[in-house]
Amino acid sequence: MQKITREILIDKAAFLLSTGVVGSVFGWRAGEFDYDVTPALFTDKTDLKNNFVFGDFCGANVSKYLIKATKNAEEKILVFLKPCDTYSFNQLLTEHRFNREKVYVVGIPCEGMADVRKIKEKAGEGILKISSTEDGVIVDTLYNGTISLKKEDILLERCKNCKSKKHVAYDELIGEDGTVLENDRFDEVAALEAMSPEERFNFWQNELSRCIRCNACRDVCPACTCEKCVFDNPESGVENKAAYNSFEEKMFHIIRAFHVAGRCTDCGECSRVCPQHIPLHLLNRKFIKDINQFYGEYQAGEEVGSRAPLVNYTKEDIEPNDAVNKGDK
């Protein structure tokens, strides 16, 4: 398979810019270190050549930015989407969040993105340089010398259980398209389900108690695109800025997960950005698992315009009391 390099993408972007197909490019901008990449809009070719990056740290799902970026854009915006990003892209289109005509999608293959947290766990503080190799990275550190790490050990949590390498939306593909993958993403949920209620309660009490309500999970989430979130709205009756106690921590996360249930594509951004390392994707995945089990397999974003399970029904749906008792004997 063709290895995607920043040069290929820059060439593609420069070509589309100069032919007037697009007026700007949404991609990733280099940072201070090798790992602090920022999603960014490029309009200038020199800027593109100097600062555009693509590599192991371009995990950010840029689909959501298109809402803002397309608002006042006069020309098309080129966006590079990884397979998982295309699901969010479609889901946003399903919800009429931006005009498809204003976007030119170039699908790019992805072999999984790296998690700098994991690198730091293994290489320690003082990372000076991270260079990608065939099957991993080489890290130069201040205190521990040079360390090489295998890709599978530093993959982002969500990439470890990649659901699909297939692009469900694009105008043009670079490289070959992949397929929907078999994965074990529900194993963690199943493990929790297998615990006793007390264990589950303690698990979540511990996880959620770390929440600082920075709202990063919500703000990064491509399904959370409300004009005004209920938790920010004093009129909603549930507005709440910082959780005062464990109830409010749970309230926020339950309702947020419920609001995106059936719309969440399982992109995993919530867990990736959580500064407190709360495994928030386990809430969303629980809903996905239940939905698949109760109402048939459904992958949000697979198809534009598909009817989300919570705005749909059949006459034979499972009764809630049976749904919660399904594990009991």
Partner: protein, 341 residues
């Protein structure tokens, strides 16, 4: 100076915890966290705790006062309980400096009595940074990671911990620890300091300069075109403000319990769309303004109002936490690039 052998440090910590609540950095599932000392706990080797010591003096939420309503009578209940003394062990130079920045806000008139009370009861034992990280840039703001401030400063040498009482509070505490410490340690402190200085010179961000910013630079940067690109990717979450040791904005909320009202305050973030809605009713309209506010406050407004002291301590927490990796270093570099005179 007083010193104690590395292997005796837990005896010393045990001694401190006899008279006051003691918090030490301990490795938790996801990073180091200040944890109340108990026998058996191990000190973390991490450079920084996930959250700064700000939390001890200015917690994320606190109940200020309660109201009880019966008929037409409103009763005000101040439910502050008597504060106990507490000691924080292992605060880094940046975090210690942040207290100075917070003090200037909360201890100037009108004094925030909740904060003042906690300050009065808290003792900070700082610790020189043996292993600064790549994200550290405290030197930008004139902080010396090899010689932090604090009530007591501690240096960790190869074989011994060295303590130096700085403030009255600190010296008193150190005196109480005479049984578990002995005199000396000046040499060790020197060695540690020198080692740290060598490392500081190797840090990738050592050349970040703040000198273009500071007092009365509002006009120079306020309308800079760079804000647009810098703020473009900002999600508007509050991560940077909540992990920041110097962010001190808060909101006050009333919670109706049905049988009364609990008034509490919680951290607020200038990154939020409804920030300042409560006072002027005109919150900053777009993320660009909110983003600009945060950095202008750290780099220009705060120094303007506080004798040129910057509102950032270079701890680097925002560098590693921002979901989209935008941070004050990038802002300073970008704005400082051109000559905006």
């Amino acid at each position: 100076m007083r010193k104690c052998k590395v292997e005796n440090i837990y005896t010393l910590l045990g001694e401190i915890s006899k008279n006051a609540k003691l918090y030490i950095p301990v490795d938790q599932v996801n990073g180091a966290k200040f944890t109340e000392y108990a026998e058996g706990l191990t000190l973390s080797n991490a450079l920084k705790t996930e959250r700064s010591i700000k939390d001890f003096f200015f917690p994320q939420t606190e109940n200020l006062v309660d109201f009880k309503v019966s008929g037409k009578i409103i009763e005000i209940i101040d439910n502050r309980s008597e504060m106990e003394d507490f000691v924080i062990f292992g605060a880094r130079a940046c975090d210690v400096r942040s207290m100075e920045i917070l003090d200037r806000v909360f201890l100037s008139e009108p004094v925030d009595t909740y904060y003042a009370n906690r300050r009065a009861h808290g003792i900070i034992i700082s610790m020189a940074c043996n292993r600064p990280a790549e994200t550290c840039f405290c030197s930008t703001f004139g902080i010396d990671a090899s010689k932090p401030a604090g009530d007591i400063v501690c240096y960790k040498g190869e074989n011994e911990y060295v303590f130096e009482g700085v403030t009255e509070k600190g010296k008193n505490l150190l005196e109480k620890l005479n049984a578990v410490t002995e005199n000396g340690g000046e040499d060790t402190a020197k060695i540690v300091q020198t080692e740290i200085k060598t490392i500081l010179d190797k840090l990738p961000l050592k050349d970040v300069k703040a000198d273009k910013f500071g007092k009365d630079k509002t006009d120079k940067f306020f309308n800079a075109p760079e804000w647009k690109t810098l703020s473009e990717a900002c999600l508007g979450c509050g991560t940077c403000t909540f992990v920041c040791p110097t962010c001190q904005c808060y909101d006050i909320k009333d919670f109706n319990t049905n049988s009364g009202v609990k008034r509490f305050r919680c951290w607020d973030s200038c990154m939020y769309s409804d920030f300042t809605r409560m006072s002027a009713g005109q919150p900053r309209p777009t993320q660009l303004e909110r983003f600009r506010q945060r950095f202008m406050h750290k780099l220009v407004y705060y120094p303007t109002n506080n004798d040129g002291i910057f509102g950032c301590v270079g701890c680097g927490r925002c560098l590693s936490r921002c979901p989209i990796s935008m941070n004050i270093v990038k802002v300073m570099k970008k704005l400082g690039e051109g000559d905006n005179e």
